[in-house]
Symmetry: C2
Subunit: 107 residues, 2 copies
């Protein structure tokens, strides 16, 4: 299989209402390219996976372990395993999420 | 320590000539925001870390395990541990690299 993938060739899945995901799974990681519609809500949840959220476009308000921040391009959010987190998109957003280990539940 | 970091507050290090890196290390991952100058060369190398390269801006020609591709915004490059890789920036580029496990050598 090629080492090179084009995200615009990947089928999008709506993981939460308004959260459109294109995903790449490797042996140890899941990378998710999110297009998020303004006003969409991420309900509080947690998981065994470490997560790093990279905001590329827009403003995404996130709450992690009780700490809230309006994330803009250049914000990186580090979430340890099991950290409760929630959010809402204040505008349309583009985000790259990194999960370790693989999100088997997203396959 | 806060879960929220601003990449523009992170000091940049020149890891290879023309490859300016701002890094975030977690327990299990290193995330590198690269600003790469047009014409810069990445000499062939390999490492124990799995790597995923996300091209955000510009054109970055990469060769992985003998396969060459001119990566543009939306290209994702998956490199298993020990895969030899090299490259050159055909234009100025912005890239997010993900490494698993942590790049202790970059700390």
């Amino acid at each position: 299989m090629s080492h090179f993938k084009q995200t615009d060739h990947i089928e999008s899945k709506e993981l939460f209402p308004g959260f459109h995901a294109r995903m790449i799974h490797t042996d140890g990681l899941t990378i998710v390219y999110f297009d998020i519609k303004a006003g969409s809500i991420l309900p509080e949840h947690h998981h065994i996976h470490e997560q790093v959220t990279n905001v590329l476009e827009g403003t995404l308000e996130l709450t992690v372990d009780g700490e809230t921040f309006a994330c803009t391009p250049g914000t990186v959010v580090t979430m340890p395993p099991h950290a409760p987190h929630s959010g809402r998109a204040l505008t349309d957003c583009k985000v790259i999420d990194v999960f370790r280990p693989v999100r088997e539940d997203y396959k």
